[in-house]
Symmetry: C2
């Protein structure tokens, strides 16, 4: 049933949940290491640039990583009137931080990545995203994000001197299996709520509306327990199964469309590959099947 | 690099342009025939239902075909105030016609499919879409759509008694290779322009913004030559390479957002799997990279 022959000798392939297999032509294997948490790989592809995989799942390709990272960063950043402090949980490739740091209002971005092998692999082989680590405004911790958030919340609760709140929090995690599972849990989000500034926004990697509808429901429910405003917004890239993918959006104040200042995007002078004024609003207008499944948890727009 | 083993013995796989390979678990091969035009196959998948392939390319799966067919049919149909006659060029699976015929204002839908093997395979194995062929309002021709359009245009020009114009035209074609190539050409669209009613709308399968950007430009240019209003609108399904896909939109009068009557959708009482009020408008708000590439041809929104 595979009717067309290939000119490529090697392919790099992901088997997603035994429901879909997909892959891209591969040239070299640049990095392959079994870390404490996962197998981290970087390969090069003649058609998709450098590709990062964790445990055999595509995390990013150079060809389309801008889509994910722009949509994770700029949607909340252009909604907050004056974001100064940002937190990235996960995101060890640096792509989300890179986009966050394009906003000149950001004074400090904290990145908490559990797996130093991811950061090391990207610093060596994917400078396109790892360029973020060169910024003096980025502070990186190689720590468990769940534990880090717990301690950061405790500092707030105890009124410690170095306690701090964040205007933008991006949960840039892998799929909710193994060590990443608690990143989709109630305790984690209760802690993030504590360290979120009053007009703050939390966006999280929200899985596939097609293939992970139950996981989306679980995440939406957790968010509804903790925040007064919950939405999902979608984007499409080339390297995730099914193409369509979601971020969750949570805030106690900011409406993702009504509070969107189109002029702020224009006056930023920033250029994007995927994001624009229309895409910002369109992303929140999700397909009917997804809207119905999440209707008990999402706020009306 | 294929780290996870599979429980499925067989997979059905598409190699798209030697840039991406993707596939789904397969149980039986239900239909396989080399017709005059292409190899037509229907297979069953334990995860995606029945799947139709032409020349090894996925045309539809039962699991997600509603997305493509809803977006091709309902976007133009809910824009036209009183669509009575529809034309489908291609679409031999019946899915687009099925959605068109849900609109009670439609008195007649003409479907022109070049390959009778597609219609026969779907009638036998994919009743989910082929149900359309049972409608007395559907008139099917097994003919070359390019030639059919030429003759239909000649009838209009010559003022023949059985000449007719169409309110909605859907060009539901395969990829622009081989016999389908002229379906993306200037002569074909000039003929469609002739048989389009004054408030008519033409939508066409518009390929991948990621993988077929040059083809999108070619199609957009052809449309601009023939119609005063040209747009592209996007959707995402699971069985096309990269996930993100486009329809082109052409009309000499109707604006796809300003002329959209939200109340007409509500009063139709119709239920959808993917389409809804938000999705209709959001679909036209295309990603920045695509907008830039097509900017010379698309009207502003």
């Amino acid at each position: 049933m595979d009717s067309k022959s290939s000119n490529h000798q090697h392919w790099v392939t992901e088997n997603f949940d035994d429901q879909v297999k997909f892959g891209f032509p591969r040239s070299e294997i640049l990095f392959s290491e079994k870390s404490e948490f996962q197998t981290v790989e970087v390969v090069s592809s003649p058609t998709h640039g450098k590709i990062l995989l964790n445990d055999g799942c595509f995390m990013l390709s150079e060809r389309d990583e801008a889509i994910y990272h722009e949509m994770m960063a700029h949607v909340p950043l252009f909604l907050h009137t004056n974001p100064k402090k940002a937190l990235v949980i996960g995101g060890g490739d640096g792509g989300t931080a890179r986009e966050i740091l394009r906003h000149t209002s950001i004074e400090k971005c904290v990145l908490v990545e559990i797996d130093e092998a991811v950061v090391r692999a990207c610093k060596e082989f994917i400078p396109q995203t790892a360029v973020a680590f060169q910024s003096p405004r980025l502070k990186t911790f190689i720590e468990d994000g769940v534990e880090w958030a717990k301690q950061a919340a405790a500092k707030i609760i105890n009124g410690e001197r170095d306690a701090e709140k964040f205007d933008i929090i991006c949960v840039d995690s892998t799929d909710p299996v193994g060590f990443a599972q608690p990143l989709f849990g109630d305790e984690f989000y209760a802690n993030l709520r504590t360290i979120l500034s009053p007009n703050g926004i939390i966006v999280s990697q929200g899985e596939s509306p097609f293939y992970a509808d139950k996981m989306q429901e679980t995440l939406a429910k957790v968010l509804k327990n903790n925040f007064s405003r919950v939405h999902f917004y979608n984007f499409t890239n080339m390297t995730y199964p099914g193409g369509l993918w979601s971020f969750s959006y949570a805030s106690n104040s900011i409406h993702p469309i009504d509070d969107f200042s189109r002029s702020r995007v224009a006056s930023s002078g920033m250029e994007f590959q995927y994001y624009n004024l229309g895409v910002h609003e369109a992303a929140f207008l999700i397909p009917e099947f997804q809207k119905k499944k999440l209707s008990a948890y999402l706020n009306p727009l």
